[in-house]
Amino acid sequence: MSVGVHDRVAARWGAQALEVADSHGTLAILVEPARLAEVARSLKDEFGFNLLLDVTAVDWPERTPRFDVVYHFYSTRDFVRVRLKARVPVDAPVVDSLVPLYNSARFAERECHEMYGIEFRGNADLRPILLYEGFVGHPLRKDYPKHREQPLVPYRK
């Protein structure tokens, strides 16, 4: 059953995607950012991937485009997973938000935004969630030094 679903997804989107491969049991699809919402909607409506597990990003500073925005989907009917990736450059890190499709995207996109600076077009609420108001910078980018603290309360002594 699981092989069937992966094959059908690859058959449906293989031609329009940039890369389709198997990654240790998960089907990994790389698409252009403009196609992201369309592929996600198709995964949800046609193939039954009803659970958006996670939204995250990977920073490759020596490469253009710099960021990989990574989505993981799960189907509670067929028990298979799909990874969707889109590459965005650092000067225009914009992708479409998946909030209209999945409410679990709300918090995940907020975190991805504050950690990497990815803009999610369509998500009206991109307030910092794990970081605080007044934090400058995007800590998970490779050029943010780990030890740079931005204390809110002045230190004693």
């Binding site: 780990k146 809110l152 230190y155 004693r156």
Partner: protein, 167 residues
Amino acid sequence: MSAGPQSSRSPGALEYLTTKKDEFVGWARKFSLFPYPFVTACCAMEFMAVSSSPYDTDRFGAALPRFSPRQSDLLMVVGTVTHKQAPVLRRVYEQMCEPKWVIAFGACATSGGFYQNYAALAGIDKIIPVDLYIPGCPPRPEMVIDGIMKLQDRIARDRHPILTENF
């Protein structure tokens, strides 16, 4: 207690009374600590363990947590304090009334533990004064009890002026 010699003739008498008063107040304060468990992370598991039956803090009088800083006198900072949480901790500390003591419970509260990065405060003594540090990640309940007993010894030996300088 019989009335001692007049203090104008023998200044030791007043000091005898004040040390006895300090011992009495110290004894009362050390056995009626009202902790404010400022609980954040994994050390909470050991805090729950030390508060419950096997390792009871009730024996030391420190069982009843008061979840309002106005009503408590022992601030136990249990777990990592991050920069986001720091204003909250500072406000809670400022809202407590004198006398108050602070226990840094666990490695993260003491020094930041092994989270030395942009997010974690490297030790709560950067923002509030600490009376006792209990190391451990998380500390065993016996260590916590040892720490509370040390704090009690300190409270017992401390001076307890009725009119403090803030009066």
